[in-house]
Assembly symmetry: C2
Homo-oligomer: 331 residues x 2
DNA sequence: AATCTCATTTCAAACGATTGCATCATTAAA
DNA sequence: TTTAATGATGCAATCGTTTGAAATGAGATT
């Protein structure tokens, strides 16, 4: 399998000069004569010589690899994020190593170890549902590897974070619902353990409590599409709310299944509003009104933070990506 | 930044024994006394010693990293594929490095170089639209790095390939349309340069030519959602076909936008059938009937092939993932 | 002729882990 | 008492690249 490499040694033997001369010649070191440089470079190019990265890395102790650790890649938000980070990383000479925690703490921890062993120079992470202890991330950061949290971030200080404007997004949604005069609201959120859920929930609830006390808002925390569908099916049997708020795409999908099953018309019978990365809400007819939280833009933002850290910026900052309302016809 | 590592040397100095003894002790080499092993291991664990991967890799010339090169990650098919490969890879001690070609040949080539320089031990690749020359992949493979093509595969032999049953899938769709008695078919495919398009198109057309000569089938090759929407909008103005076949999700999305705009009822006014990884067709009401081509399963299959190659299997094989019809209510 | 430049080139020591072989004791066997 | 065997440890080379310092040789200066 592993075919014999071209090495400086081989070139030096072929040319009858020392290894160091070859090395310097290839790097255009001023000490080396023009003739020698030419000879060396020619041979190097005919032999397709390429420095052995393993050796280079051993010397420099630098891998130029950045790690991304997410619950899953199978997600319209994360893959946009990853895509953006990859695009930026390539431009700056970094490569991307990806791992999934599958929302399991044990996998998350072992994957952090794999990434550390692989000598990543920085880590982007969206934590698993089970994560509570931030020690592994702290250790990584203390050992000189900057950590940037995104989406699902640690609820402790001392880390860089690239967040969606969770509170603002939930507020925008709440405001929109109130403005349309909806009073009977079903509000669906994700796993209550996550900071992102807590923020959105608190903000949404707070806005309603302040600005529309007479509204009747019911809160649930179904986790995925199927749970949402079942929940809504049950609810719709008794009384159909005049509006539904969906914290994420999967919840929206479940809700829409239930809406279709119950043959409800959007927005006549029921209004829908969500928070989304963008594609899913536009597939329905009418298109669902949603607060946009762009994974792609967040990826670019997170990379910027990471890059600053890699270049020596010691500051820990939280960046927040603004949300905008994208009007569909569902509200 | 780069904090000082614990090394064998450091341990050996702290313990007053030689580097080689420390190394052997940590690996439970039988030559080393029980006492020494205990001493070494204790210190190693209190200091969180971890072998320096750079050094290990230099000796072994093995990275245990697999590369994935795709046109984009922002795609419901590729992210399932990547996810599956990552899951399998982790189980077997490999890590995944990802790069995107953005369907540009130049980026594809430079990314292959980056991956090679990063000493990947194997490469999964779905080629860009512009790719014609397979030399870079051949070189990689000749240098001992197995290449497994998937989805968009090279139209030459000598490479391992993990394909969707493109021909079968198109055939299943054609057959379903014919069985429903549809005679006026609009068939939409992706970029005509890709082997995947050629196969699906040829198979679809062939099936119709053989089994339903009196059908009126129109073929187009719109590339993405918006092109499909515009195309359909125009077509629907003149005459609405009784059925539409969509080669992929993006085309389906465009078609459905046009269908909604034209206020056509599915399946009464128009029947729809597609080929898809799975999620998108299920979002519509009624759910779109589609031929399933699972990115996740394909990823598992591709990894199996890769693993065999990594373990020394020299055979070049093409694996095909079977397609199944998932009935929605759109046909 | 002796010294000094200067341009080139080579030596040798890193980086950190691994491993065949040599070197010690110590003890058992002759 | 000498030799051999055994157990435990250390030496030194290796992987391939880089780089400070030393060496070489030719030409210029005194």
């Amino acid at each position: 399998m592993a075919i014999q490499q071209n090495t400086l040694k081989k070139l030096s033997e072929l040319l009858g000069i020392s290894i160091s001369t070859v090395s310097r010649a290839l790097k255009d070191h001023p000490d080396i004569s023009v003739k020698t440089k030419a000879r060396v470079k020619e041979l190097a190019s005919t032999l397709d010589y390429e420095p052995n990265n393993f050796a280079v890395q051993l010397r420099t102790q630098q891998s130029n690899v950045l790690g991304i650790l997410v619950p899953t890649i199978r997600n319209y938000f994360y893959d946009f994020f990853i895509s953006a980070v990859e695009e930026e990383a390539v431009k700056h000479g970094y490569s991307i190593m990806i791992m999934q925690s599958c929302d399991k703490l044990s996998l998350e921890i072992s994957n952090i170890n794999v990434l550390r062993r692989n000598k990543i120079m920085g880590l982007f992470v969206s934590i698993s549902i089970e994560t509570e202890d931030m020690t592994p991330f702290r250790k990584l950061q203390d050992s000189g590897v900057p950590v940037v949290f995104f989406d699902r971030v640690a609820e402790v200080s001392g880390f860089s974070k690239a967040c969606l404007a969770d509170e603002a997004a939930a507020q925008i949604a709440a405001k929109s619902i109130i403005e349309k005069g909806k009073k009977n609201v079903l509000a669906l959120f994700g796993h209550p353990h996550l900071s992102i859920t807590k923020l959105r929930y608190a903000s949404f609830k707070n806005y309603f409590d302040l600005h529309s006390k007479d509204s009747n808002v019911t809160y649930f925390f179904p986790e995925q599409a199927e749970a949402s569908r079942q929940l809504c099916s049950e609810i719709f049997k008794n009384k159909v709310p005049d509006s539904v708020f969906c914290m994420g795409d999967m919840i929206l999908i479940g809700v829409m299944h239930a809406v279709h099953e119950a043959k409800l018309k959007v927005p006549e019978d029921i209004s829908i509003i969500g928070i989304s990365n963008g594609l899913i809400p536009t597939l329905y007819n009418p298109k669902i009104t949603y607060v946009e939280t762009s994974g792609f833009k967040l990826g670019q933002l997170a990379f910027k933070q990471m890059y600053a850290s890699l270049k020596g910026n010691e500051e820990i900052e939280e960046v927040i990506l603004e949300s905008i309302l994208v009007e569909g016809g569902s509200l």
